[in-house]
């Protein structure tokens, strides 16, 4: 890796490495982080060194394909009232929890699927608000999950029958998320203990439900593995270990890429703050993803008035074919 100049210089000009695609990094996002950081630095009791020497260099330059808009109240508050995320505040259970809270926001609070939709990106940023000195009960971690609306999926397995490979066995998955992304600030096993992962349903497996009985669980396992493998291949299940940039144990941000083949619905974004493998706070918000304009109109017509849609499809196809043929016939003369 190449690094030009000193660290301070690198903070002002995002390094060449990240902006390889030639896209202009939206500086505003970085500014937002810095702004939130500056505001929160006052509230938090900092135990480490001065912020400006370490905060920015690790922040990889943004690669947003969508223009970054700041949600309202992004920098708004040390009290978190203007933030899109609702923090749980004090979690019941173990003592020591509740002293650290999440204050976070998103760059966009809704995703619109337009005719030219080619995937998008959710930029999550936030900070840890402390009411006392930084606890020493293990290292701090941040895990962010983004879960799409559940779908019923049939997983089929091909088998050789009389020389032909055809679908034989199948497993019905009652609910599997249509999209699942998990971004963490480090290796998941170290960040969140297994019981906490089960409790808060962190991880793809914790999101997949089939109605098969326990006795069939062993047979179901390869089907569930296949489901995860195929969904990962489609780009709708992603484990992004290390994608959350955590600076000074206070500021964090992450980019979660959204593929073009998104399913409509409400996407749940959750942030988990962990210390020594235990979840100490969580915050969540909902991001609606919807088709808009013509895309929405076509889809609704197809599903709500299928006969009209069918007739329209025929009429439009006939018209297009006829116009194109006439156009070229005129051209040839």
């Amino acid at each position: 890796m190449r690094r030009r100049g000193g660290q301070r210089a690198a903070c002002r000009t995002p390094d060449a490495q990240g902006s390889a695609g030639g896209r202009r990094p939206p500086r505003i996002a970085l500014k937002a982080v810095l702004l939130a950081g500056a505001l929160l630095a006052g509230a938090a009791v900092m135990t480490a060194a001065a912020p400006e020497s370490t905060v920015p260099p690790r922040a990889t330059p943004p690669q947003a394909s969508t223009p970054v808009r700041l949600a309202q109240g992004a920098g708004g508050g040390a009290d978190g009232s203007g933030s899109a995320f609702v923090s749980e505040g004090v979690l019941p259970g173990s003592p020591g929890k509740g002293r650290e809270r999440i204050v976070a926001d998103l760059d966009q609070n809704r995703v619109a699927i337009t005719a030219g939709f080619d995937g998008s990106e959710i930029f999550v940023f936030g900070a840890v608000k402390r009411t006392g000195p930084e606890p020493v009960s293990g290292p701090l971690g941040v895990a962010i999950t983004l879960v799409g609306p559940p779908e019923k999926i049939i997983v089929r397995k091909k088998e050789r029958v009389k020389g032909l490979w055809i679908n034989r066995d199948s497993l019905v998955i009652e609910a599997a998320p249509s999209f699942y992304a998990l971004a963490t600030s480090g290796p998941l096993e170290q960040l969140v203990a297994e019981d906490e992962r089960l409790r808060y349903r962190i991880g793809i497996r914790q999101q997949i439900f089939s109605l098969e009985g326990i006795e069939k669980a062993a047979q179901a396992a390869p089907f569930i593995e296949a489901l995860i493998r195929l969904q990962e291949k489609k780009g709708v299940y992603r484990i992004l270990e290390g994608a959350v940039q955590l600076s000074e144990a206070t500021l964090f941000h992450a980019r979660i890429p959204l593929p073009a083949n998104l399913t409509e619905g409400d996407y749940e974004a959750r942030i988990f703050l962990t210390r020594g493998g235990q979840v100490v706070d969580r915050a969540e918000t909902t991001i609606p993803v919807h088709k808009v304009g013509l895309e929405r109109w076509i889809w609704r017509l197809a599903h709500e008035h299928p006969l009209t849609y069918g007739l329209l499809a025929i009429a439009l196809a006939a018209l297009t074919g006829w116009i194109a043929a006439t156009f070229f016939a005129i051209l040839r003369r």
């Binding site: 030219g116 679908n167 998104l262 889809w299 299928p306 069918g310 007739l311 499809a313 006829w322």
Partner: protein, 305 residues
Amino acid sequence: MQIYLPIAEMSVNVFVLLGLGGLVGVMSGMFGVGGGFLLTPLLMLLGVPSTISVATVANQVVGSSVSGVLAQIRRRGVDFRMGLVLLAGGLAGAAFGMILFEKLRRMGQADLLISLSYVVFLGAIGSLMLLESLRAMVQSRKGPVRRKLHRHGLIHRLPVKIRFRTSGLYISIFPPLLVGAGVGVLVAIMGVGGGFIMVPAMIYVLEMPTKVVIGTSLFQITFVAAFTTILHAVNSQSVDLVLAIFLLLGGAIGAQIGTRLGARMPAEQLRILLALLVLAVCIRLGLGLVIEPDELYSLEIVRGG
């Protein structure tokens, strides 16, 4: 430039769609066949779900044959009475094909049904065409052989005879009904116009004169494809209008190129080329059924329930 297909729920490059439509257009311009038999498998390769491919290509066929029918009507190349009989059979066949398609789709065997029908029909038509063209090439070297004007086979012995004036035929109503029905089934389950089966059947089975074959088959195909589009739209909401329109636009451009290319090549060679292409698609699909796939598992997202 990407376009989001609202029904297939995926984003595809516009130029890929135009190119695909164009390629099929070149085919249809060169060989005079619809090209649906290439379009459906190509869309599936692109990642469009098979049911949406089949339904959308049926819609595309409507658009690509409409202008042809209009031109043929002007040229008096359509035997309307024969067309209507074929159409009656075609609609019944399409309805039956839809029931079969839906049943197998529920069982998760739609892909198998589509692939198998492609392999069988492309294989049969491709080899027949190849043999026929090779024989014709050999014969043209030996000198022409006169074919009998009238053969009295089975189709002349069946009851309920009808006079088809434009075609100059007096035959039973059943063979055209059956031919129409067979093609109707194919439109429903394969998403093809069926011209590649219809035209040989009309020439060799019904013994129609060549000048009305193209027009009459286009006439029947247009209506059967329209009917199938509606059935798919109502049954499974799998017709993607946006996809169909981009394929049509590409197809219109491709057809112009294809017509010019076709005019430069000798007809016999052209037919051999088409036969080889049909066989290649057949072999490709056939291998997919026989060779162990890389991924044994597949997903089906159950919508609306």
